[in-house]
Subunit: 267 residues, 2 copies
């Protein structure tokens, strides 16, 4: 391991870790921040993104050796005391480990679709601007074996720090692409032979009655406005059955129910 | 409506609204805080808890008339300017409406169980100490028609401000009781003729293969440690099928899938 001790919070080698929270708002020039052992495990195992470096609390290093062994030997592992680490990141880092990754070249929607197997399940969040919800949708996509996530242009960034954390790393594992409008995503999915299902409280069929086709795209809209009307007119619609008088479901919960229904994972 | 204008943030009539966030940590002597129009609708419609008063932004009053019409005429409706309201609550109140409710006498586990219908579904969170998760479990319980929630003594308070908000008011609607240990809850549920199912990644049956009995209690454990081993030994266990390599599901998502599976709500 390429372990480097950092004693000065102003050391230029740890500049990407400065003021983690404030810089969430202004972007990071092609980089993302991953936090915690479980997320770093996914980052290194999935290998979809390059890890530029890791910053770890000195007294946590021993517990991280196995995780860090999954990363390339040459990757710098910066270690620091709690005081120095907090001074760098700008808040108390109780998780004790951070990584900076590179976003790299974003794949296009067509590239992601072209790389999918013959049988494929794709989640399509539309207008989801809340990082908790995007993170949870990725987590559920990974848990139930979705092959990709396609986001319309109004969704938030799944590589935002909080979205990665909530996804428990799934945002670093499940292939995704950001498209244009939902209509343009539907055009692309049609070209690639996908049947397309829009989840909506006003959906025609009960999702439990829908069988999984070979290639399925599942659209998820916002809680308030739902999916855009033109999209609902164009696609097959399905609803999740609820109790009368409390017709209110979080989109992440809806994605869990629908993706679980369609999962073909073996036990 | 009993509308009372407040110009002085130190007015003793709005004392329960002072420093909302700080007082989350120290408790409120039998009171809870409900935020937002949707949650207040549930508070007034469900009628399980008494609303002591409401504090609303003056320029939001017109949009709240229908909601406030659901409350007793005598309930004080305090109105204030944005500046005064922020000075009272201690943070920027973009939702524009708050209510103080009274927790009242807590029902016992046996009382809640005795009041249930012949066919009943009960959610039993064990060790869930995160308010987001408790709120989401209540929301899903309401959405899928669970008749009650029983919490073991190590769960957090569902009437904590954030839990109520995340539940979209379901914590004010679905009857609940806080028990002793999970084992004591299981004893009570047995006495009341419930079949009991523990959700666990190591569960024996796939939840999709389990039919709903007349009276069912569904146990939900924490993400890390899961349900206590003695409980798993004692109860029937079921798992939610997941994809290989990413065996990680949030407890709220798990509750959505399991409760949806057992819901008997009509369309």
């Amino acid at each position: 391991m390429n372990i480097i001790r950092i004693d000065d919070p102003a050391d230029p080698r740890v500049a990407p870790y400065l003021d983690i929270r404030e810089r969430d708002l202004v972007g990071r020039e092609g980089r993302f921040v991953a936090e915690g052992k479980v997320v770093l495990n996914v980052l290194f195992c999935a290998g979809r993104f390059e890890a530029e470096s890791v910053l770890v609390l000195e007294n946590r290093l021993a517990g991280m050796v196995e995780t860090l062994g999954l990363a390339p030997d040459t990757m710098p592992v910066y270690i620091a005391s709690g005081t120095v680490m907090d001074a760098i990141s700008g808040f108390h880092m109780h998780r004790g480990i951070l990584a900076i990754g590179r976003k790299g070249m974003a794949a296009s929607v067509d590239e992601v679709l072209a790389a999918l197997p013959e049988r494929a399940l794709v989640a399509v969040p539309v207008g989801i601007s809340n990082h908790d919800n995007i993170g949870s949708i990725f987590r559920n996509a990974a848990a139930f074996g979705a092959d990709a996530v396609l986001l319309d242009q109004t969704c938030c960034d799944p590589l935002y720090r909080k979205a990665i954390r909530v996804s428990v790393g799934a945002a670093l594992k499940v292939p995704f692409a950001v498209g244009g409008t939902a209509g343009e995503l539907a055009d692309a999915l049609t070209r690639h032979g996908f049947e397309q299902l829009a989840l909506s409280p006003a959906g025609k069929a009960d999702i439990r009655d829908i069988r999984r086709p070979k290639r399925l795209a599942l659209y998820l809209g916002t809680e308030g406005e739902g999916l855009p009307e033109p999209l609902l007119k164009r696609l097959t619609t399905a609803r999740i059955r609820m109790a009368p008088g409390f017709d209110s479901l979080n989109v992440a919960a809806a994605s869990a129910i629908a993706l679980h229904h369609f999962t073909e994972a073996s036990d």
